[in-house]
């Protein structure tokens, strides 16, 4: 366990010493800031717009980070041969994968927290108090975090056998499909054909489903988030991550370092 933590810590260290991250965070804060301007145009609904834009920015920027650090996570180390001196030590490849995942997960969490603090600051500025801030806002951030972990897991699977470019493509594709996964199933149900229906249903279970994680619209309109949804998302994430991490550990374990 200490070994996994050491790897995670090193991954985090690498991420924070990488300047790209700072520019992404800056970009997110700018977007949240610019929503103030938008909010000023449409008086009275500025809180709603700010929450909407802010959370969306966090979600998108977070996803970009998760994809681009995630796909490089393993591949870069194989490519630069930094792994030689790591995996020759008494480390299981599974421990390495877990450490990498935890490290990136923590990096994403820190970034989300920074952006969330920015968003809360803006909201307090607009409403001159804590009026527009509800617990559902933080639950929404947490759901974004779970989503980012899933994306990281997907990126990790691809990056343990494919090139960064292909991994990025596949991961982004799955990310977008995941947003509309529920629609695929509805399409199947509507199609009224057993064959199509069974295909779409299995796709529904196979592909990631991010639909239930997206509560931004509801939160910006001040609607509370059901606890059952939170619980469902939590269990879903744990199960899906377990599968993703096992898959990348198995694939990576069989692989020759070049």
């Amino acid at each position: 366990m200490t070994k996994i933590l050491a790897i995670a810590q090193n991954t985090f260290k690498e991420a924070i010493r990488d300047k790209i991250l700072y520019s992404l965070i800056l970009f997110a804060l700018l977007m949240i800031g610019s929503s103030i301007l938008l909010g000023m145009i449409s008086i009275n609904i500025e809180t709603k717009v700010t929450i909407d834009v802010g959370l969306s920015a966090m979600s998108v920027i977070g996803a970009v980070m998760a994809v681009f650090i995630g796909i490089n996570l393993v591949h870069k180390e194989i490519d630069k041969k930094t792994l030689y001196s790591i995996l020759s030590k008494p480390i299981h490849r599974t421990q390495f994968i877990l450490g990498k995942f935890l490290g990136l997960g923590f990096t994403l969490l820190v970034n989300l927290v920074i952006m969330a603090v920015g968003l809360v600051g803006v909201l307090m500025f607009i409403s001159r108090g804590t009026g527009g801030i509800h617990s559902s806002l933080f639950i929404a951030v947490f759901l974004i975090f779970l989503q980012l972990l899933l994306i990281t897991g997907i990126a990790l699977v691809f990056s343990s056998f494919s090139t960064p470019a292909l991994s990025a493509m596949f991961t982004l594709a799955l990310y977008f499909i995941g947003q509309f996964n529920a629609d695929i199933r509805h399409f199947g149900t509507a199609a009224n054909s057993l064959a199509i229906q069974s295909v779409t249903t299995s796709l529904y279970y196979l592909l990631p489903n991010f639909g239930n994680f997206n509560v931004i619209a509801g939160v910006s309109h001040g609607r509370p988030i059901a606890w059952t949804l939170l619980g469902y998302d939590l269990i879903y994430s744990i199960a899906y991550l377990f599968i993703l991490l096992s898959a990348s550990a198995v694939i990576f374990g069989r692989r020759d370092l070049k």
């Binding site: 930094t82 001196s85 790591i86 008494p90 370092l257």
Partner: protein, 317 residues
């Protein structure tokens, strides 16, 4: 006690993008290294030395065969607690400082936290990098990277040390230091298994050597058993010579050329060397240096064992 036992170790690499063919980089290697031995692993470029070490370090998986280190399977993660490994042309996390990198390495061995700082300091001293402690590895020179690589290989005070070309990239002082270090490890009773192209080093350090060629073991044993003692040509460097001596040496030597204002004479064997030295003495010229001839040890083995026209590179199956 046996430290390393390699049995029939074989590795095929897939090559080619569309139609995968297999290339046999290591072909049924059998090798036994006793505990406490300093063992040299020789062979021309592409012979399969690095491949062997990467297999033992679990970085790649063997096509067939097996190995035991310290009596346990090399696939047993726990045995690696007692091993050190310096990769060939080491690459490390360039955003870490020397100190951070060694700390990280120590933590991957699960060493007790309070013992780490003093270990790191001691090792940085041993490899001659105390001043680079807080320098990021991206700012390291090639030789400095090699040194930090050796430091990380020793962080766990290993029983068996695998070094892939430990002298490469080092200046003469660095080479001497690493030589001393290997001798010190030997004094401590450690097993050192290293690959090298630098034959004087191998001669000075190794109890036994193995010669690999095109993935196959050509020979294994003590150096003086493997290499006939009077083998090889010699190079004589002569100063203060005149034209008469030059002509005389031309007749004795195999090859003659100028090196600065010295005369370089290549001599085929001991007899020719004695005659040449005698001529130099008689004409009142100076013997500046006598060097082992350009023909290396590896050339010797390759000539001895290799099929004519064969390549040292791995062959497609």
């Amino acid at each position: 006690m046996i430290a390393i036992q390699i049995e029939n170790l074989t590795k095929d690499y897939p090559v080619g993008f569309w139609r995968k063919r297999q290339v046999r980089a290591l072909d049924g290697l059998n090798l036994t290294v006793e505990a406490g031995e300093t063992f040299g692993f020789l062979g021309p470029n592409g012979a399969g030395k690095t491949t062997t070490l990467k297999l033992l370090m679990r970085l790649i998986h063997p096509t067939s065969g097996h190995a035991e280190i310290l009596g346990r399977s090399f696939t047993d993660v726990s045995v690696h607690q007692q091993l050190g490994y310096l990769p060939e042309n080491p690459f490390f996390y360039d955003y870490l400082t020397a100190e951070e990198f060694l700390n990280y390495s120590a933590r991957l061995f699960d060493l007790p936290a309070q013992s780490i700082p003093s270990k790191v300091t001691a090792l940085l001293d041993v490899v001659g990098l105390p001043a680079a402690r807080r320098l990021q590895l991206r700012k390291f020179s090639k030789g400095m990277l090699q040194r930090i690589g050796i430091a990380q290989a020793l962080i766990n005070d290993p029983e068996v040390v695998f070094l892939d070309e430990p002298m490469s990239g080092l200046d003469p002082i660095g080479r001497r230091e690493i030589r001393e270090l290997i001798l010190e490890l030997r004094r401590q009773g450690k097993t050192v298994f290293f690959s090298s192209h630098i034959l004087p080093d191998v001669e000075a350090l190794c109890d036994r050597v193995a010669i690999l060629y095109a993935g196959k073991l050509l020979g294994c044993g003590r150096l003086d058993e493997l290499v006939p003692q009077e083998t090889g040509s010699m190079e004589l460097m002569v100063g203060h010579f005149n034209e008469t001596l030059r002509n005389e040496l031309q007749a004795i030597g195999k090859e003659i050329s100028m090196a600065g204002n010295l005369l370089r004479v290549t001599l085929a064997d001991q007899g020719a060397l004695f005659r040449a030295v005698e001529a130099v003495h008689r004409r009142g010229a100076h013997v500046i240096r006598i060097l082992p001839g350009k023909e290396s040890f590896e050339d010797y083995f390759v000539k001895l064992f290799a099929p004519p026209g064969g390549s040292a590179r791995a062959k497609p199956l």
